[in-house]
Symmetry: C2
Subunit: 508 residues, 2 copies
Amino acid sequence: MKLRVRDVDLSAGGNLVVIISRADASLLDAFAGDRVLVKNSAARKETTAVIDIDVENKRIKKGEIGIFEELLRLLEVKDKDLVDVTYTGHPKSLQYIKDKLDGKRLSESQIREIVNDIVKNKFSDKELTYFVSGCYTKELSLKEAAYLTKAIVDSGNKLFFKAKFVLDKHCVGGIPNNRTTMIVTPIIASLGYIMPKTSSRSITSPAGTADTMEVLAPVDLSHNKISDVIKKSNACIVWGGSMNLAAADDYLIRVRHPLSLDPEGMLLASILAKKKAVGATHVMIDIPYGYQSKFSSFKEAKKIGRKFVALGKLLKMKVRVVYTDGSQPVGRGIGPTLEATDVLSVLKGGGPKDLREKSIFLATEMLKMIGVKHAEDKVLDSLDTGKAYKKFLQIVELQGGKRKITLQYAKYSKEIKSKKTGHVIIINNKGISKIARIAGAPEDKAAGLYLRAKKGEIVKKGQVLFTVYSESKEKLESALKAVSDSETFVIGNLPKSYFNRFNLFKRN
Amino acid sequence: MKLRVRDVDLSAGGNLVVIISRADASLLDAFAGDRVLVKNSAARKETTAVIDIDVENKRIKKGEIGIFEELLRLLEVKDKDLVDVTYTGHPKSLQYIKDKLDGKRLSESQIREIVNDIVKNKFSDKELTYFVSGCYTKELSLKEAAYLTKAIVDSGNKLFFKAKFVLDKHCVGGIPNNRTTMIVTPIIASLGYIMPKTSSRSITSPAGTADTMEVLAPVDLSHNKISDVIKKSNACIVWGGSMNLAAADDYLIRVRHPLSLDPEGMLLASILAKKKAVGATHVMIDIPYGYQSKFSSFKEAKKIGRKFVALGKLLKMKVRVVYTDGSQPVGRGIGPTLEATDVLSVLKGGGPKDLREKSIFLATEMLKMIGVKHAEDKVLDSLDTGKAYKKFLQIVELQGGKRKITLQYAKYSKEIKSKKTGHVIIINNKGISKIARIAGAPEDKAAGLYLRAKKGEIVKKGQVLFTVYSESKEKLESALKAVSDSETFVIGNLPKSYFNRFNLFKRN
């Protein structure tokens, strides 16, 4: 059926939805939630979309099709153009989703078909939610997780290297700052090893590694450009999304969000797919645990750690896991520019002690994985002689940033002071993140906050605990309101031994 | 935060969604999918809504809130009005949904809270989908199903009667036509018993009982009007939706649709809640089974049948189950007016044999449930002396229809003829329904088709199998295309004994 495009002048938030009149829905024998194939023959563009029915015929009349921003662009159509619409029925793989809910094991080809249909937008959010539910309640076997990983890898672009060792790392779980990637990558690269690092942008945090790197250089590079940067410098620090790596994964993340539902097999597949796609041979997984972390005990963290190693084997990647302290932010800045400040300080030989120590630990363990002797000495040498910093500046420049770095700080700021004297017992990770976000991070690069005290330190009444930064008075005020609404710092008196009982880093 | 309403001039298909700018989302620290409370203080109206973010700021600017048709009406606001928007966080009951996915048993108060939040629109479709998934994969115990039923009953309006017996019936599963309700109800009422029948409109079929009854009388009556009709005639045949019975159920049905996922406990709760809400004491459940039915074997049908009886006990209702032939349409007309034709014929003492026999069987079994002696004789007497027909006309008139019934038939029609001679072995229920829908049913009351042959009958080459009716040439053509695309009748030669091996009706 030919229908005339109505630009509904809205974006649909990622869903490919079209709106048709009840009369046309009836002719197609289609219901809300069913799928149609929409074709723009002139530009040879087509896509599957889920239909919504304008029951009240308020805006979409018979003969018209309401199209949202995303789809207009995809189909290269504009208001009043004609498109061809046909009913497509359910994709066959919808039955496999039902099978999974019924507890059946899926075959490699069934999982591959589901993932292909995900990328082709053939499922509605409800149907994808059913897939996530099935993987959660009936669990994925290690084999199914491997099939899923491979299918996700094949759903997007890949990188290839001839080198014997291609290194990568990943941290599971949102500890504020924790920007070790931007320090470890230039250390590894300065020692002659390849590390094609792709990172994510923030979803619910004040900054992802990609947001922080973006303060210094573009991170949204083409596939060719990335290859070129790596060829010249051994490494890159870019946004994964720009490469269209592991494309299917983004769809699944969107429906996992509402219940923070992370089916273990999907979590493993999602992470390792991105490593496999860049051609990694050796992968370091950092699992923070403890109070305020995703994994509350070492035991829990180890349970998933072992599965990373096992799945790595099936995927022919060597995986090593380290378990680290997840009880407070690592570093002191929260928000892209403030986190970049910490990273640059560490690369210049100073910076927050915990961020420096954790980065040295991770880089050392990664080098040990590939059999490098005197690994820690080499890491310290790279950092302390400025080799790592020089390498970082090279990467920044190759990605299109300026070699001479100058950071822009926020227009407005406010110091938050302690109401009593005592030890800092708890820094509330969630509260800290919320304040930084309301202050404007990550959209406003310079917004966020800077911690002037960390866990275990003694603060005096009236001493500054942290400073909030914002680009607008309104946002600063909203952030300050959030400060007074939540207990971000817990101050009290505890023996010093209390703070020593945690082992910061453990190996598997 | 105060925001200015933008009427987005679309309906959102039942979801209560609002659109805000990225800037305002950031100030609220809200993400797409989060909930806000939207208040119109002037009219004292408020509701929870799920937010979508206009990432591209294409239409919704900072300070504005995009509102769809449904919500404009609910809040009594119009374009440019000011509303108050606050972030509300997750409803507490979202954790119970996660608990269910984790296999926990839910308490009565937890289930009640989930259902209350459903009716208050506090969940997104994804979250509701997770609830359905949990009930499907981890199953509801009989107790949980009873809690769910009671909570659904209390989420809407109810009817009360002082009578000792209040009868009701329900058929599980979509057999075309099968309009026994419109025959059984006046029979029961003519014998002096109360039967407050509420029925559904079609969701995916060519007609529901409410659509068919609507050909003869309004079915969308107020609570008061319904009570009055029942008081005067012992019965009614109305649309359940108009009474806002079991309000929570409609939300759940919407998310169960995509995978045709009917968690057993939810299916039971959904059906029995509607019976409990009208005050039924004795309920007859009709479960068609066999090829083309929801339940493919008698064993499967019996399994669910027993649960209806057990759940009925927990709800203090007497439930009896009958198992019937679901292998072909019951009656001959498909589509509201054509089905009404069959109903009127049976009430006048003629009509399709299968529809008459099934109605007599059901009415007899219902009377036996409440201890009526010589039940079948009484049913036959009511039908054959015209008492049931008279009662039906009284109900039609009380509901606002005309006592003198004249049916309007469709403008266009086309006879479909057999291409060979033989027995009718299969009538494809789905194919038949699809054709009737494309012809215009149920929106066009007179559209649909009329079967001129039924299973087991011998047809000659060139003999008419069915007639398609439509109100427009375009719809008729589309329907005829669907006829040629699918095999609606399977004609072949089989011994007559083949057709006798099915027992039409079974009691539990």
